[in-house]
Subunit: 129 residues, 2 copies
């Protein structure tokens, strides 16, 4: 059965806390990671929490990549959702691992939208990417 | 061990396709669902794909809620990430189930950021929400 999308959940532990504090830096890192994976950015939204910690989401033609950081715990949560096989999740993970200086990473990957049978509505749309 | 966040993956199948086509309508539905769950919206970004299908992300103080729709397959993928126990994931799911007229829904829930031991950096920040 075909999956319409793939979703990767990444947990980056024991990161360099100074890499996790400022939205400008996190935005630069995440956008660079997305491009390293071949993603095409539509829009990026980043938000600073008080006193520290960042939430960011990059909407891409392949779907989205999100990050949430806890500098006080040296932890960052990332998720990558793509509807195209062209987006390289592993390349994004590798880039973030190096940029955040994480000492430990966990990864979980899921198929999204597994159709039981072909849709009765013919798919006439182009590939979303 | 405490988890810093909770992440719910929702798959809505056999939806009413006309509910999945336009970003304006999807944005209204998702924002209302977030509010039904007690979430506070920071910013919302929605994007139409050609010829149909929507990607949307709502950044909330509790983290994010994202949706991707495939009207031609009557399917929508949603994920809810929260760093606070205050956000009601079940209420968001219920709202979306009714609004999208889904006949079948699957749910998977994960803990994010499970720390092995208390961080050496004291957490002085306020609750993120």
């Amino acid at each position: 059965m075909t999956a319409l999308g793939h979703h990767t959940l990444l947990d980056f532990y024991e990161c360099e806390p100074n890499r996790l504090k400022r939205s400008r830096e996190i935005k630069a890192i995440l956008c660079a990671a997305v491009r390293a994976g071949g993603g095409r950015i539509v829009k990026a939204v980043f938000h600073n929490f008080s006193p520290y910690g960042v939430t960011g989401v990059v909407v891409i033609t392949e779907s989205h990549v999100a990050i949430h950081t806890w500098p006080e715990h040296r932890y960052a949560a990332v998720d990558i959702f793509s509807c195209s096989a062209k987006l390289d999740h592993a390349a994004i993970r590798g880039y973030l691992n190096r940029a955040l200086l994480a000492k430990r990473t966990s990864r979980r990957r899921f198929r999204r939208g597994v159709l039981r049978k072909p849709s009765l509505i013919p798919s006439t749309g182009p590939d979303r990417s």
